[in-house]
């Protein structure tokens, strides 16, 4: 059991039952501080950029192009990309297009469980502005309202080639130290949480999972 911090700056976890309150932390997420020595931070970023482990969670249609990406023809393994079955081992979350409200809840939970530094790539048109399902009652339209996204790749669906290009772009961004999505999430945590709770009506999980 994780101890309750007992300060004002804790999360309410109002969606949990009393019993569950004891099972989850109520601490807020903390922002990532770069190493004080630049060379060390650069080295760390280089290492991060070359071992992008993708969370194997096909949230939407985009997952269909992840399979060619990961198999022989496009062979993303050569870029240091590998699929991992659990969020705890993953550093990249690829949002495969549209997210229904039901999936969004799992996305948030998976995202929060990922260890930092972590990055999000959003595939396709739907996360940008609703795409084909802009008028659907069950899919969110602007993904940046709920999870910080580091890179958008437009297309329907984006081809594996452009996924490769996107991964390379992400690597460049990481190496340049410009991937601060996770920190944005921490800094604007309340805003993100409010947006999430606006669409997820049965909030029965801790406010921050890790």
């Amino acid at each position: 059991m994780i101890k309750t911090l007992g300060t004002e700056d804790t999360l309410e976890n109002a969606g949990l039952t009393d019993e569950e309150q004891q099972l989850f932390s109520n601490a807020r997420p903390r922002a990532y501080e770069p190493y004080p020595i630049k060379a060390v931070e650069d080295f760390a970023n280089w290492a991060r950029a070359n071992s992008l482990w993708i969370l194997a969670f096909g949230t939407g249609c985009g997952a269909i192009e992840l399979r060619p990406l990961m198999t022989a023809r496009f062979d993303a393994n050569r870029f240091g990309v590998a699929g991992r079955p659990t969020p705890r081992q993953s550093s990249v979350f690829i949002i495969g297009g549209y997210a229904s409200v039901k999936t969004l809840k799992r996305i948030i939970r998976s995202y929060e469980q990922m260890q930092g530094p972590k990055f999000v790539i959003a595939l396709g048109i739907c996360p940008i502005n609703g795409g084909m399902y802009f008028d659907s009652y069950n899919t969110v339209n602007r993904f940046d309202q709920y999870i910080p996204v580091d890179l958008y790749i437009t297309g329907c669906m984006p081809r594996p080639e452009v996924l490769v290009a996107g991964i390379m772009e992400l690597q460049n961004k990481i190496k340049a130290g410009r991937c601060d999505g996770a920190n944005r999430y921490v800094e604007n945590f309340d805003w993100y949480k409010a947006n999430q709770k606006k669409v997820i009506k049965n909030w029965d999980m801790p406010d921050y999972n890790w």
Binding site: K102, I128, S136, Y137, N138, R142
Partner: protein, 180 residues
């Protein structure tokens, strides 16, 4: 085919028989005898395959039309059984004992249209939706676009002109149209 329909007409109060194409017919039956008819069709007439159950919302008539699509593999014939139920009293006999997948359809109809099937298993569990707080979404009075705009919002910065209005403003703002 005609013999079947004659038989059905003898025993049941079926009407609105509509031959849609060779190999497909629909008919309508009252709510109370529907389950017996379907059971009869399955057990005696060879309509052993349930293609699907669905619902059509005729909001202007105040009814839901339930459609049970049955198929006979031997005669290669599909029979659609239509049952009208009152939109205000949206309840129908469950046929979950006839086919194993029937309760899934009924669960979906419960969620999407709010139709009750007493006795159908896991009827009130969430099926596709989760935390839904509006009227059932497939009902025609539910406007999905308005809902989406209100709840999910759209990216700003979009604006479109209508060619004829734009041309009027640009080319002949004082002419055309009527003062009325």
């Amino acid at each position: 085919m005609n013999e079947l329909l004659e038989r059905l007409q003898r025993h049941f109060d079926v009407n609105n028989i509509n031959v849609l194409k060779p190999g497909m017919t629909t008919l309508k039956i009252g709510k109370d005898s529907a389950e017996i008819l379907i059971r009869e069709l399955r057990d005696r007439e060879g309509y052993t395959h349930l293609n699907f159950i669905t619902c059509i919302d005729y909001i202007e008539d105040g009814i839901f039309t339930l459609v049970y699509m049955l198929h006979n593999y031997d005669s290669k014939h599909t029979l659609g059984v239509h049952v009208d139920i009152d939109r205000e009293h949206e309840e129908m006999t469950s046929i979950h004992t006839l086919w194993a997948q029937a309760w899934t359809y009924q669960r979906e109809l419960r969620e999407m249209y709010g139709i009750n099937f007493p006795g159908s298993p896991r009827l009130d569990e969430d099926f596709c939706l989760e935390g839904w707080d509006q009227i059932p979404p497939m009902r025609r009075e539910f406007d999905t676009r308005v809902f989406s705009e209100e709840r999910f919002g759209h990216r700003e910065g979009r604006h479109s002109e209508v060619p004829r209005v734009h041309m009027k403003m640009e080319l002949y703002p004082k002419r055309g149209g009527d003062e009325e």
